[in-house]
Amino acid sequence: MMDYEKLGLKAGIEIHQQLDTAEKLFCRCPTTLRDASERTGDFHRYLRATESELGEIDRAAREEMKLVRKFRYYTYDTVCLVEHDEEPPAPMNPEALEVCLTIAKMLEMTPVERVHTMRKLVIDGSNTSGFQRTALVALSGALPGGCQVETICLEEEAAQRVEDETFSLDRLGIPLVEITTAPCMHTPEAVQEVAAHIGMVLRSTGRVKRGLGTIRQDINVSIADGARVEIKGVQDLDLIAEVVRREVERQTNLLAIRDTLRERGARVDHTVIDVTALFAETKSSILKKAKAVLAVRLCGFAGLVGREIQPGRRLGSEMSDYAKKCGVGGIFHTDELPAYGVTAEEVARLREFVGAVEGDCVVIVAAGRERAGCAAEQVMIRAEMALSGVPEETRKMLEEGSTAYMRPLPGAARMYPETDVFAITIDEKLWESVEIPELLTDRVARFVREFGLDEGLARQVAFSERLPLFEEAVAAGVRPTLAARTLLATCRELARDGVEVARVSEEEILALLSAVEGGRAAKEAIPDLLTELARTAGDAGAPGERVDAAIEKMGPAVSQADVEEIVRRIVTEREAFAREKGMGALGPLMGVVMQELRGSVDGKVISETLRRELQRLLS
């Protein structure tokens, strides 16, 4: 068990949440996601880093420039020239700003007096312009447990990567809030709790997008003597604590490696040695077909390059990530050789050729000459970093919670004003007009209190995407328990049984629940009726008519007189049994009647009628 306090763990999170607005942040396109197969065309562009005032290209931007890359973009009939970077942006979407202010108010933040939109350089291809538009809207909020929210920004979502250098423009420009906390969390669990709380606040607005990829967490982690590392794109809330644990483990191990390297007097030999000829006859197909095989000698690194620093990750994996920036597939190092078709004899020859002595590790890269040279350089850069500890990096999450290197942490000098968007003043009147919605946690308590739902069901309803429908049904006079059970339990069970219940429209569900409340269908018939509505989904007809047709089909309407007649007949047929059992016959006879009426009449109606009939017989 790690003592996180002793290790000096400091963690903060950035939460990115897409907003469910009608239009995008800086154009009038809908915020609809599309399937790549629906694209109406594509185009391609090159991005080029611009020189900053110090004559320096931002280090993150420079890293991306290592490869000359052409980006391809898929376009749709729901995308306009703004996403194409062919038209200046429209004014900031007021609906998005209002949602952002609502969230800011819920987090007890102070809005800035005037919001200025900025251009943040992003040249990985995910923004056609080469920058992301972003605006700081409010500052300094409070979280339970004493943690602070530093900022909330309203920004454009980036384009979705389809593969490699191909992006899809449907997502580009969807409004996104970015909530940044202070580095105020000191245990992995605290990070997860804060993320869960902010997620709950966001969903309480009812105006954020739901589903996979609509919320993403970036986690900042550092330990004493380590370095700030930003882990991008953690989508699964339940993995957050594990990601933090593994990053602490990685930094701790990198520091241990650094200490060992220093004790050994390790160093990086900066001559790149061409060893292509040594592998002319090798059985390793990668080495054999490469135009150039280059070697780097890491003096005193033996055993450490192959040491695990995180489940499934070694120092060698980090070097490999850096090398991959040059377009190579990876690296080989002598801590893991002989393997991959490289023989012990070849390793011995390699070591001898580069002058490696005991305690040295040799890394080789195989590719075209230029790429291999670039990769060898990168390996040396990462090896030097190992001598000083943990590098500041942006990393991406792998499955299970380990991480891989993406790029250096961006420098500060990468934002400048978006001159095409006017600044927006947030005066007191606007701020006062922002209404705070009920927190979902408060809503759970209210549902228990007002509707008599049990806490589990209340929580399910409150956090479910069906919440608006539930509230609409209750407002229309449907009993809360009936609405909740139908929307959650019944629909889930039917879906599990393969009924495409998602195809039944909300209006139809509402009409169905009203029909049940109005006594036109029994609640026992709901599963059958939903199944019928799902089966005929897409057929013509208003929701009310479609529900009536389903009721008609599943069982003709049975009047109270019919019920009384059937009950009387059944009681008469079983008169002896009834007289013998007295009112105790109610249960058994109930089953008989229910079977006959097959759910077309509410059980409560039947039981009351039956009770009256039995009382009449026995009196």
């Binding site: 185009f43 391609h44 562009r45 090159y46 991005l47 080029r48 880093a49 611009t50 020189e51 900053s52 005032e53 110090l54 004559g55 931007a61 052409k70 020239l81 194409h84 970077d85 062919e86 038209e87 200046p88 933040m109 102070t110 800035v112 007096e113 005037r114 919001v115 200025h116 900025m118 251009r119 943040k120 350089l121 040249i123 056609t128 312009s129 080469g130 920058f131 972003t134 605006a135 700081l136 500052l139 300094s140 900022t151 920004c153 500060a412 000098a413 990468r414 934002m415 400048y416 004003p417 001159t419 600044a423 003043t425």
Partner: protein, 409 residues
């Protein structure tokens, strides 16, 4: 409080927040400050407090880029359109760059095509361009050609680039390529079309062309630039990269990107065809009028005493019948009136309908298939160089610089 200057370090207090930032400017009664995170925010002046004035940073980007002496010599004449710009992330200012070293630092591949000498004649937005500047520009180009450059690149704002290119074309005979180039998307953005347009224009300027052209994106892709004839090009979109189009003809050629290989059509005038000549007289008392239904003839009074008037008329080249008496008077008083069409595509023909026939009899000149803007510039040049009205009339219907097509295709 000391009066604040851009770059001053300030303390910002709002709600429970106390942050430091950099003072940028005062705008509409509020201060703009840049926080350490890089974000700008607007705040009331009373919420910020001066902390210190940092020592000014050394000017960046100095140093001269060494050019390859074995490559052809090109002149880069700038009028204010920006090929390159530099962003000051501290203040957010975007600065245009004009010196060759600055441009070569921003677009290093230019150094593989040619060596460059720079000459800045103006630094204006192209909507503020003036005929007097067209003349200055034509003279600067002529001087460079006489000085022996292999080609000339003119950087220009895109709004009125087509006018300037046409004007230079009428005033100048050139044996070398004279290439106008600009960018539709600001040069500060990584996606800007500036670099590709600049590279393609340099490739054309160092190539086999022998006339004045506009070189800009051919499509929304970064795949090729089109080479347009100066007198037949028009900006046809407010914002797209491929806004410039050749009207009534195919482009003179294309430049593939990134290979920068130039293909010219048979029609493109080749290097060395013309001897350098400059005839830079312009009659500036000329106007271009866009007719609309209901436009009162009294509008014409504003052009009383003008030497020339180009009308962008409807359809085949019409204005309302009630205009004809007033036009007849103007023509009799010495104004040369040329009819073009707001259709932009196609040829004027005032012989089909009565209105047209009446216009002809009043003395209006059919502008053939000339673009209205090209016709205006041509009229200025013709009236500036040809004092005889009858000969001027003939010249307006003669192809002088590729502005009139004999056949409509």
């Amino acid at each position: 409080m000391e009066s604040l200057q851009t770059g001053d370090l300030v303390r910002y207090a709002n709600g429970g927040t106390a942050l430091t930032g950099t003072y940028i400017a005062e705008r509409d009664g509020m201060a703009v400050i840049k926080l350490e995170s890089g974000y700008n925010i607007g705040t009331s002046l009373e919420k910020i407090e001066f902390v210190e004035r940092p020592a000014s940073q050394p000017a960046a980007g100095a140093g001269v880029v060494v050019q390859n002496p074995d490559l052809p010599d090109l002149a880069v004449i700038s009028t204010g359109g920006t090929i390159a710009s530099r962003v000051d992330y501290r203040t957010g200012a975007v600065m245009s760059q004009f010196s060759v070293s600055d441009i070569l630092r921003a677009i290093p591949e230019l150094g593989d095509i040619a060596r460059y000498r720079d000459c800045q004649i103006a630094s204006i937005l192209s909507e503020n361009m003036q005929p007097a500047l067209w003349r200055e520009l034509a003279r600067a180009v002529y001087d460079e050609i006489r000085a022996g450059v292999a080609g000339v690149i003119v950087t220009h704002g895109t709004d009125t680039m087509a006018y300037s290119a046409a004007a230079v074309r009428f005033m100048l005979k050139t044996p070398v390529p004279v290439v106008f180039v600009g960018s539709q998307r600001s040069a500060d953005r990584p996606s800007s079309d500036n670099a590709m347009n600049a590279l393609c224009s340099a490739a054309v300027a160092a190539g086999d062309l022998g006339e004045v052209a506009v070189v800009m994106h051919a499509t929304t892709n970064d795949d090729r630039c089109a080479v347009h004839r100066a007198t037949r090009v028009r900006k046809m979109h407010t914002s797209r990269r491929d806004a410039f189009q050749s009207m009534g003809m195919e482009p003179l050629g294309y430049v593939d990107y990134p290979s920068l290989s130039v293909t010219l059509s048979d029609e493109a005038v080749r290097r060395g065809t013309e001897e350098p000549e400059l005839h830079d007289a312009l009659e500036e008392r000329c106007a271009l009028l866009h007719f609309y239904p209901g436009m009162p003839p009294a509008v014409l009074d504003a052009f009383e005493g003008y030497a020339g008037l180009v009308i962008s008329g409807t359809g085949l080249g019409h204005v309302a019948t009630e205009w004809i008496p007033r036009l007849r008077e103007m023509i009799e008083d010495g104004t040369t009136v040329v009819m073009t069409s707001q259709c932009l595509h196609g040829r004027v023909c005032d012989r089909v309908y009565n209105t047209g026939r009446d216009l002809l009899s009043a003395g209006v000149i059919e502008g053939e298939d000339m673009l209205p803007e090209a016709a205006l510039v041509k009229l200025m040049w013709v009236l500036g160089n040809e004092p005889d009205p009858e000969r001027a009339r003939v010249l307006m219907q003669t192809d002088l610089a590729g502005e009139i097509r004999r056949r409509s295709i």
